[in-house]
């Protein structure tokens, strides 16, 4: 029976997501370098770095960006183990699996032959390496943003970047209720697990899953109506007004100067 495994797998997934929300929240308020920066500056500079990663065509630059990211992780007091765990899990491994065949099938100059049969080409090694480094770099920069910026500050930055306020409001509220529904779903699975002896058949599990999803959907619909009333009760009239308390400080300008200098230098190195 796969029943027990199915429940355990789902519970593990939900628990992990719940934990990651809590851990991220704690890190965002740690007294580190990036935490102290204005979210608008952070979003813009880190996005520029990520675009730069996309433009980069050689390893030196990609490795330089990786070292910079690593340095920022350390200065922002992000536990390196946690960072590496989030960085290396899934995506780079997945990318490596994707990249390996490219070593062999990319046509080009032979570099190395394994067992006299499969041939790794120089171009193959280059393309696979580029792909993996790019993924690692982009993810590092993304993690830096997420681990050092509370959701509400990120929303303020998006608002400042002229994302329609309706979309920002939806993003803000969605994240808040994801946590609640994760809990709801998790407790449904836990309740089923506690009643499970010997597991259920695949069909039974699928049916139960369908009903669990319907229950969650109905709950989300009910909540949306209630939340609407709660908003209305406190004066909401179709548009959420917010305080904009962001102010630039000296450190923001220092960081911005540094980041822009680094980015210009790197762009210059690409097109030289």
């Amino acid at each position: 029976m796969t029943g027990g495994g199915f429940l355990a797998r789902n519970i593990a997934g939900f628990t992990q997501a719940l934990e990651s929300v809590v851990v991220t929240e704690d890190l965002c308020h740690a007294p580190g370098l990036m935490q102290g920066l204005d979210p608008r500056i952070k979003v813009v500079t880190l996005m520029l770095f990520i675009i730069l990663v996309g433009l980069a065509q050689d390893f030196t630059l990609l490795i330089a960006i990786f070292i910079l990211a690593l340095l920022l992780v350390l200065l922002s007091k992000i536990p390196i183990a946690l960072y590496l765990k989030r960085l290396l899990i899934f995506i780079p491994i997945f990318t490596a699996v994707i990249a390996i065949p490219a070593l062999f099938i990319t046509p080009g100059t032979p570099l190395l032959s394994i067992a006299g049969k499969a041939v790794i080409t120089a171009q193959g090694a280059h393309t696979a390496g580029l792909l993996i480094m790019r993924v690692v770099d982009s993810l590092s920069l993304g993690l830096l943003l997420v681990f050092t910026t509370p959701w509400t500050k990120l929303l303020q930055a998006l608002r400042w970047l002229r994302l329609p306020s309706l979309v920002v409001d939806i993003l803000g509220m969605t994240y808040r209720y994801i946590y609640l529904l994760l809990h709801t779903a998790n407790s449904m699975f836990l309740a089923r697990q506690s009643r499970t002896i010997g597991g259920f058949s695949g069909t039974e599990n699928r049916r139960w899953l369908g009903r669990a999803l319907v229950t969650t959907m109905v709950k989300s619909q009910y909540l949306s109506e209630e939340v609407y009333l709660a908003m209305l009760s406190r004066g909401y009239q179709g548009e959420i007004h917010t305080l904009n308390e962001l102010t630039l400080r000296r450190r923001d300008f220092i960081w911005m100067a540094f980041a822009l200098a680094a980015i210009s230098l790197m762009v210059w190195s690409i097109y030289l």
């Binding site: 796969t2 797998r9 789902n10 939900f14 996005m47 675009i51 990663v53 996309g54 065509q57 989030r86 995506i91 490219a102 099938i105 990319t106 046509p107 080009g108 100059t109 120089a122 280059h126 792909l131 480094m133 993924v135 982009s138 993810l139 993304g142 993690l143 997420v146 959701w151 329609p164 309706l166 979309v167 409001d169 939806i170 993003l171 803000g172 969605t174 994240y175 808040r176 209720y177 994801i178 529904l181 994760l182 709801t184 695949g202 699928r206 899953l209 369908g210 009903r211 999803l213 319907v214 969650t216 959907m217 989300s220 619909q221 949306s224 908003m231 209305l232 909401y236 009239q237 179709g238």
Partner: protein
């Protein structure tokens, strides 16, 4: 199907943001018009639900498991425009907070999963279900077939985006700079996985949820009736046509005539075999209109005609399927009512 950062060139990423932008714009306008002040809480809570749905690990018969996207389901319950908005929100949160899918590739991911998937899925659902009753089997079949084909269409487009990378972006000596596989690898790799695993997961989840909604919460399903009465369905149709027109030439691209620096032969040399789906796909598309170009016309015109013919054929087949199911239902109903009167 979440494309991470680094797989697509910045140019492709930019282009995909541009392609998605009008859909986002219209979606925001339409949703605000229908839901008015309720937009924020309604979209937020439904998006949170979709997030949870995507996290569910679904067991398939045979032991494999997978995750659904639920795009067609959202489109059925909330309407296609709300689906575009709500899935985009979920994808953005996944990308930012959970590192699932990239930031630069967000435009592409949204186009694939938040535009192509729900629009195609909903379109097919509408065509199959016709004017049938909310609780009919015909609608259930529509939801299942729609969700399956919706995710396949999305995977085709994803394969296309990945597959054009080595053709467009490579160094002077031919080294691909981004995703390394051409269309002839990327498209079959994406679609076969979705035909066999992700598609069935999507269909099962959509089917089950739809079935239980029919049984106990059919009010949630009949809401779309109000959307229909607005007479805005034509836009969905148009959107679906655009998307299908987008997806149809993939057959042309997959066959190694126009593109393909790595033709099937080279691939065979490297891998020792050619993915079966690839030959099957190219044969399939070669069948009715050889090489996709009608004699005596330019390639572009030929392609457009081929796309339109393809759409017409698909539409007709779906309509037939819908008719067939409703006929079967009627016969069943007649039989049961006859049985009732006899008893």
């Amino acid at each position: 199907m979440h494309i991470p950062d680094g797989y697509l060139s910045p140019a492709t990423c930019g282009a995909m943001y541009v392609v998605s932008a009008p859909f986002w714009y219209v979606a925001v306008q339409r949703v605000r018009k229908v839901l008015t002040h309720r937009t924020v809480p309604a979209m937020a809570l439904f998006s949170a639900f979709i997030f949870i749905l995507m996290m569910f690990n679904v067991p398939l018969p045979g032991g494999t498991t997978g995750h659904a996207v639920g795009g067609t389901l959202v489109a059925i319950v909330l309407g296609p425009w709300a689906a575009v908005l709500s899935i985009s929100v979920v994808l953005a949160i996944q990308a930012v907070l959970f590192g699932d899918g990239g930031l630069t590739s967000l435009g592409a991911n949204c186009f694939n999963m938040a535009v192509v998937l729900p629009v195609v899925g909903y379109f097919i659902y509408r065509v199959i279900s016709g004017n049938s009753d909310v609780n009919s089997t015909r609608r259930l079949v529509g939801a299942i077939v729609g969700s399956y084909l919706g995710i396949i269409a999305a995977s085709l487009v994803t394969g296309l985006e990945l597959g054009i990378q080595p053709l467009l972006f490579h160094t002077a000596d031919g080294t691909p700079l981004y995703a390394p596989y051409g269309l002839n690898v990327a498209i079959p790799a994406m679609t076969i996985g979705h035909l066999v695993i992700a598609g069935p997961v999507e269909a099962i989840v959509t089917g089950l949820v739809f079935f239980y909604l029919q049984k106990s919460h059919s009010a949630l399903l009949s809401r779309e009736a109000s959307q229909k009465s607005e007479g805005k369905l034509w836009f969905v149709w148009a959107g679906a046509l655009v998307v299908l027109a987008f997806a149809t030439p993939l057959g042309l691209l997959a066959s190694d005539t126009a593109w393909g620096e790595w033709g099937a032969v080279e691939l065979k040399k490297a891998l020792g075999y050619i993915p079966q789906g690839m030959t099957a796909l190219s044969n399939l598309w070669h069948a009715p209109l050889p090489d996709y170009s009608v004699q005596g016309m330019g390639d572009v015109v030929g392609y457009i005609i081929s796309a339109l013919v393809g759409i017409a054929v698909i539409g007709f087949l779906l309509w037939l399927l819908g008719r067939w199911i409703s006929r079967k239902n009627e016969i069943k109903k007649n039989r049961s009512s006859m049985g009732g009167s006899a008893g």
